[in-house]
C-alpha cells in the first residue's frame, strides 16, 4: 500500500503542478455551461428582416382581422422596452385569392415561393371545400406550411389570433356577449408547487419554490459534472500510461512495484486530482451561495454522495483507460480503442430523459444499477424531488466499488502484458484474452516443478 501511495502522490503532483491543470480547472465549468452562455450571448442575435406569410382563408372570415392583428403586432410587440429598438421581425401577411379552380396547383406555387425565400410560410384556414359544405362545420384546424419548422413564433402567434377570432365569431353566432364568451372560455392554469416539509416544533410548511428548482438543477448539474469528471479524470490515464510506455520508464518502475501497484497508484493519483477539482468547485460554489444568501440551498448530503461516486467512477473508468494505454503503442491505436470505452461511459446520457421524468420507475431503478451508469444516474435520481429508498444509493456504491475493483484487477493483467510489449498494438480480442487468460500461458508438464525442486 505504501508503494501505491507513493506512486499516487507522484501522479497527483505531476498532474496538478501543470498549467494544463489550472487551465482545465477554469475551462471545465465553461464547457459545462457553454450552451447557456452561448444562448445568453446570442439572445439578441435575431434576423430582423420582415417575414412574409401567405394566408389562404377558405372561410373568408379571418383574414381581415388577422391583418389588423398583424399591424397591431408590428406597432407594439416587436420593440424593446424602450419602444425604439426593434428586437423581433415584422409580420407581413398576404392574402391569397381562393377562387383558383386547382387547389393543389395553388399550394404548389406557394410552396415554391417558400423554397425561394419569397415567403417564410403559408397558412390555410379552413379546408377549401365548398362554402355550403363548410358552413356547418366549426373551424378546428389551421394548416401551416413552412420549411423552417423549428421557428415557432409565427405558428404560436397565428394560433392565438385565430382562436381569439373564432371565439368571438362563435359567441356571436350563439347570441352570447363577448364578455360572457370570454368568461366561459377562460382557461384554468396549473400552478406547480413543491411538497410540504416538516418544520421544527412539529408543524409542516410548503417548501420554498426555490428549494424545488434548485434541487432539480443541482441534480442535473451534478450528473453532468460527473460525466465531465469521468472524462477529465479517466481519459488522461490512457495518455499518461502510453507516455510512460513510449518513454520506457515503465520497466524501471516494475523493478520495484507490481503492475497492480503501478496501475493502482496512477489511478488513485487521478482520483485525487478529480476530488481536488471537485473540492475547489464545491468550495467556490458554497462561497458564492453564501455571499448571495443561498448557502442553505446547497445539497450537502448529495455532494458527499457525489464525491464517493466520483471516486468509484474514476477508479472504474480509469482502470479501463489505463489498460488501453498499456495495450497500445501510439495515439492512433489508443484512440481506436478509446471509442468503444467512451461509448460505455455515454450510456447514462442515452437514458437521462426517462430517468428525469420518472426517477422511481422500474426502468430508472434497474438502469441505475448498471455499473457504468450508476454514478451519474444514481446522483441524478437522488437529487431529483421524490427521494429514492436509502438502500439504493448504498447498493449502488457497493456495486460501483466492486466493479471498480474487478476492472482494476482485469486491467492490471492487461497492463502487465501490454506495458512492456512493443510493435503491434492490441485489438479488443487480444485485450480480453490478456485480461482473462494472461499471455504466453503454456502449462508445462506437471512433474516439471517436482523435478525442479528435486534438482
Amino acid at each position: 500500500m505504501r508503494k501505491t501511495l507513493v506512486l499516487a502522490v507522484r501522479e497527483f503532483h505531476a498532474a496538478v503542478r501543470t498549467k494544463t491543470f489550472v487551465i482545465s480547472l477554469g475551462l471545465m465549468p465553461l464547457m459545462g455551461s457553454a450552451g447557456l452562455i452561448v444562448a445568453f450571448l446570442l439572445k439578441d442575435e435575431v434576423n430582423l428582416d420582415d417575414r412574409r406569410y401567405a394566408i389562404i382563408d377558405w372561410t373568408g372570415d379571418y383574414y381581415d382581422e388577422l391583418a389588423d392583428a398583424a399591424d397591431a403586432h408590428n406597432q407594439r410587440s416587436i420593440f424593446a422596452d424602450d419602444g425604439i429598438e426593434q428586437i423581433k421581425p415584422r409580420v407581413r401577411l398576404e392574402q391569397v385569392e381562393t377562387d383558383s379552380p386547382n387547389t393543389l396547383a395553388l399550394q404548389g406555387r406557394l410552396s415554391d415561393r417558400v423554397r425561394k425565400g419569397d415567403l417564410f410560410g403559408f397558412a390555410e384556414i379552413g379546408t377549401g371545400q365548398s362554402a355550403s359544405a363548410e358552413s356547418d362545420e366549426l373551424l378546428t384546424t389551421v394548416k401551416y406550411h413552412t420549411n423552417n419548422p423549428m421557428n415557432r413564433d409565427f405558428p404560436h402567434w397565428l394560433g392565438r389570433q385565430v382562436n381569439e377570432i373564432a371565439r368571438e365569431q362563435r359567441a356571436q353566432a350563439e347570441g352570447l356577449s363577448l364578455e360572457v364568451a370570454k368568461r366561459l372560455t377562460k382557461p384554468v392554469s396549473i400552478d406547480e408547487k413543491p411538497l410540504y416539509v416538516s418544520v421544527a416544533g412539529g408543524g409542516v410548511r410548503l417548501a420554498e419554490e426555490t428549494d424545488h428548482y434548485v434541487s432539480v438543477l443541482a441534480a442535473m448539474g451534478l450528473a453532468v459534472l460527473m460525466f465531465l469528471i469521468i472524462f477529465v479524470g479517466a481519459i488522461p490515464l490512457t495518455y499518461s500510461v502510453l507516455e510512460e510506455k513510449m518513454q520506457r520508464s515503465a520497466e524501471v518502475l516494475l523493478g520495484c512495484v507490481t503492475p497492480f501497484q503501478f496501475m493502482m497508484g496512477k489511478i488513485l493519483g487521478m482520483v485525487g486530482v478529480s476530488v481536488t477539482i471537485m473540492t475547489i468547485y464545491i468550495v467556490i460554489g458554497f462561497c458564492v451561495a453564501a455571499v448571495n444568501g443561498y448557502a442553505h440551498l446547497m445539497p450537502s448530503a448529495l455532494i458527499n454522495w457525489f464525491l464517493l461516486y466520483q471516486a468509484g467512477a474514476v477508479l472504474m473508468f480509469g482502470s479501463l483507460y489505463a489498460a488501453i494505454g498499456a495495450a497500445c503503442n501510439d495515439m492512433k491505436d489508443a484512440q481506436n480503442l478509446m471509442a468503444p470505452a467512451s461509448l460505455v461511459a455515454c450510456v447514462p446520457l442515452f437514458v437521462i430523459r426517462p430517468v428525469i421524468l420518472e426517477p422511481n420507475s422500474t426502468f430508472s431503478t434497474l438502469i441505475s444499477f448498471f455499473p457504468p451508469a450508476t454514478p451519474m444516474l444514481m446522483i441524478l435520481r437522488q437529487g431529483l424531488p421524490g427521494s429514492i429508498p436509502v438502500w439504493q444509493p448504498i447498493l449502488g456504491i457497493i456495486i460501483v466499488l466492486c466493479t471498480a475493483l474487478c476492472c482494476v484487477f482485469l486491467a492490471s493483467r492487461v497492463f502487465r502484458v501490454g506495458i512492456l510489449m512493443n510493435g503491434k498494438g492490441a485489438n479488443v480480442k487480444e485485450l480480453l484474452q490478456w485480461a482473462f487468460y494472461g499471455v504466453g500461458h503454456r502449462p508445462a508438464r506437471p512433474e516439471r516443478r517436482k523435478n525442479a525442486e528435486a534438482a
Binding site: R10, S249, G255, L420, R448
Partner: protein
Amino acid sequence: MTTLSATRRSQIATTPPPPRDDVSAMPHRRHAVEIIHVTKSFGPTVAVNDLSLKVREQSICGFIGPNGSGKTTTLRMIMRIYRPDEGAGLVRVLGQEELDAPPKRVGYLPEERGLYNRMTVRDILRFYAELKGVANVNAAVDAWIERMHIADATGRRVDSLSKGNTQKVQFITAVIDDPRLLILDEPFSGLDPVSADLLHNVILDLRQQGTTIIYSTHDMNMAERMCDDVIMIYRGIKVLDGRLEDIKREFGTDTIRVRLDHDHVSLNGIEGVAAIRDFGRVQELRMTAGYKSQRVLRDVMERGRVLQFEVSNPSLHDVFVRLANTDAAEAQDA
C-alpha cells in the same frame, strides 16, 4: 528452437566454484539467484527453454548472449515482471520464491530505461528512494548525488540533462536503497570514458560491500574486465556457465596474438592455424589441437619482424563467437 547438442553443452557448462576468499568472510547464502528448469513462452515462441543457472552471492556475473537470446526475458523473470510458464521450474532470488511481487533488496537497471522527463533530478531520486522504502531519503539522495558527481544537476529537469548524466541518474535509481542484488542491463551504453570509469568503480565498490551483480551486456571486453563468472544464453538455452578463468582455461591456450612491425602482413598458410582474426595492429591466431608454438613463431618470423608474440587463452569475445558459430553450424546441419 534450435539447441546445442547435449554433449556440447555438457562440455562447456561447468559448475560454479565456491565463493572466493576475498568475500568469503562475509555472511552469505551460497547463491543470490537460483533458476531451476525454467521455461518461458510467448505464444508459440519459446524465449527461455528449460534454463537452470545459479549466481554466486557477492560476485559479478556476466550475462552474455546475442540479441534475442533470452537474456532480458530471464532478467525479467528474476525481477518477477514475467512469470515462468505455469509449473515450469523455480526462480529463487535472495531466498525469495514469491512470484507476485518484485524481490526485495534488488536493484534493476533495465536496458529499456527512461525517467519522468518533467521531474527534477532531486525529485526523481527522492521518488525512487521513497518507493524503495529508504529510511533516510535525503541523506541517501545526497550521498549518491555526491558519489556520482551530479551535484550541479540536481535542480534541473531530467529532459535537460546530458545523456551521461541521465544515465547516472538512472543508475542511482537502481542502487538508492543499497540493494543486495543489482541487475544491470548494458549499464555503460552511452557513457563517455570518464563516466564509464566512474560507474565501473562504483560497481566494483558495491561488489566489495557485498552486493551481488548481474551484468548483462554485449560488450565482451567490459565483461571480461569486470566479471568473476560468466553465463551465456543462446536462443533461450544456457550454453556457457562458470568462472571466467575456468571457462578460458577449458577452451585452452589455443590462441596466439601476434604483432608485426608492418600492419598488413598476411599470416595465412602457417601450419596449425585454424582461423585468423585481424584487429588491425594485432592478429589473433586460433590454433588447431597439438600445434607447436615454436614452429608457429618461426613461421611468423619469416613473414616479418615480430613485435609481440603471446600464447594465451581465447578472449571472451572469441569464446562467444565460437559458441555462436558452433550453434549456427549445427542448426544448418540439422
